[in-house]
């Protein structure tokens, strides 16, 4: 479904991704973790084209992608951001409808129906005509997920979706993500929520300093880590 081969990327002269090979099967849920600066967010953005690789190939759904700074991105790859990034000048319903209307050329009624259905699914239908600033962080992030889902994506990318949330709101977002996974969505999530990763992910990938260090199913990853760096990382986070 998603294949990154020998991907290299540098910011100015700092290498951020060093020869990364990353594959995701259809319907797989991958949790991406690692220390900050390890390149996980950059890797994610290379998949949908918000970042352009210097070397290597990016293939999504069988099609090799070549992105340009000003070209349009594939709406079939959905993205949810750490800081939600809802459009403040539109109400919730409009936030959800703008993508389908402008990019997918959906009709007004179709887009509205779909938007309302998704709002119901993530549990915020009563806020449809409110503006983002009146919603809590958890609610905004659920709206953001719904907005991405409105495009009918085949892959969903999550860039630290709960890192900016107060603790009591994290679960409502993780619940939505869990539902999504159970419905068979292909997902790649950069996250620090290890409990979620262990429960929901099919595979956990650990990155450090621009390279993938280890990739394994949750059981093996936590109980039997192969690499030393992985062991160190796990020991630091499990203490919580």
């Amino acid at each position: 479904m998603v294949q990154l081969e020998e991907v290299w990327k540098a910011y100015d002269s700092n290498p951020v991704l060093k020869g990364v090979n990353f594959h995701v099967q259809r319907g797989e849920v991958v949790a991406l973790c690692g220390p900050s600066g390890s390149g996980k967010s950059t890797l994610l953005k290379c998949i949908n084209g918000l970042e352009i690789v210097d070397r290597g190939t990016v293939t999504v759904n069988g099609v090799k992608r070549s992105f340009s700074r000003f070209g349009t991105l594939d709406p079939k790859v959905g993205m949810v951001f750490q800081s939600f990034n809802l459009f403040p000048h539109l109400n919730i319903l409009q936030n959800l409808m703008i993508g389908p209307r402008l990019v997918l050329h959906a009709s007004r009624t179709d887009a509205a129906e779909r938007a309302m259905a998704l709002l119901k699914r993530v549990g915020i239908i009563e806020k449809a005509h409110d503006y983002p600033e009146t919603l809590s962080g958890g609610q905004q992030q659920r709206v953001a997920i719904a907005r991405a889902l409105c495009m009918g994506p085949e892959v969903m990318l999550f860039d630290e979706p709960t890192s900016a949330l107060d603790p009591e709101m994290i679960n409502e977002v993780l619940d939505v993500m869990r539902d999504l996974a159970n419905d068979g969505m292909t997902m790649v999530a950069v996250t620090h929520e290890m409990g979620f990763a262990r429960e929901v992910a099919d595979r956990i990938v650990f990155m450090d300093a621009g390279q993938i260090v280890e990739s394994a199913d949750p059981e093996s990853f936590f109980l039997n880590p192969q690499e030393e760096r992985t062991r160190q990382f796990i020991s630091k986070i499990i203490k919580h």
Partner: protein, 237 residues
């Protein structure tokens, strides 16, 4: 001189003043339009940091902002025939040469300031908005018109209004090349009717009123933009 007497300004004087006022408004409106156009385009280019062309824009902005507008007006009036290609020069000539030269000069001068204001506005909207719009698959044009402009408009309204008022005041410099705007007419009245002080009072009052009205309109606009989250897109059922 015989004592200050507003009544001494006869009909001819007032006609001249009115003509001058009209010309000032024409000049200001035309220059503002072109300045805004230039400013938005150049500002967007500078924000995008495209190599080569954005450096060119920087050079233009620095040159226009650091040289006196009067000198720029004189430059375009006297040098246009040398600097511009034949067809452009002919078009300017046909539209009334002094007027066109003044419009070109003022547009380029204030356009540089507007460009910087616009660039600051584009930067002030968090990077996340652009990412979110692109992630949904929007193209550059859609993103700029539906997502960026509504948010930018709110931010840049106050400095834009300031720039507009400054532009109205700059029009007074056009008398140097013979454009019959308000200040020029004052000089005419002073030279030929010797009622300089009265005329100056009237002209000053007119400028004050004009600029204050413009500022007030601008403030109204800013308030309206800030209060309502106006959605430009009719997407709701």
């Amino acid at each position: 001189m015989t004592g200050f007497d507003l009544g001494a300004l006869d009909r001819t004087a007032y006609v001249l003043i009115l003509q001058g006022l009209l010309m000032t408004c024409k000049l200001a409106a035309a220059s503002l339009f072109w300045a805004a156009l230039v400013g938005v385009i150049v500002g967007t280019i500078r924000w995008s940091k495209l190599p080569a062309i954005s450096q060119l824009c920087l050079a233009y902005i620095e040159l226009a902002r650091n040289t006196p507008p009067l000198v720029q007006i004189l430059f375009w009036y006297f040098s246009a025939s040398v600097v511009l290609p034949e067809w452009a020069f002919m078009r300017l000539r046909n539209a009334g040469y002094e007027f066109s030269a003044a419009v070109v000069a003022l547009s380029l001068y204030h356009g540089a300031f507007i460009a910087e204001v616009f660039r600051a506005g584009l930067n002030a909207i968090g990077r996340g908005q652009y990412d979110a719009a692109r992630a949904l698959g929007m193209n550059f044009w859609q993103m700029m018109t539906r997502i960026v402009t509504p948010q930018v408009g709110r931010l840049i309204a106050p400095p834009m209004v300031n720039e507009a008022v400054a532009l109205v005041k700059s029009t007074s410099l056009a008398l140097a090349i013979g454009v019959a705007e308000l200040t020029y007419e004052y000089k005419q009245i002073d030279n030929f009717m010797f009622r300089g002080v009265e005329a100056l009072v009237v002209v000053t009052a007119l400028y004050l009123v004009l600029c204050l009205i413009l500022s007030q309109l601008g403030r109204l606009l800013s308030n309206r933009l800030a209060a309502r989250h106006t959605a430009i897109i009719e997407v709701t059922a």
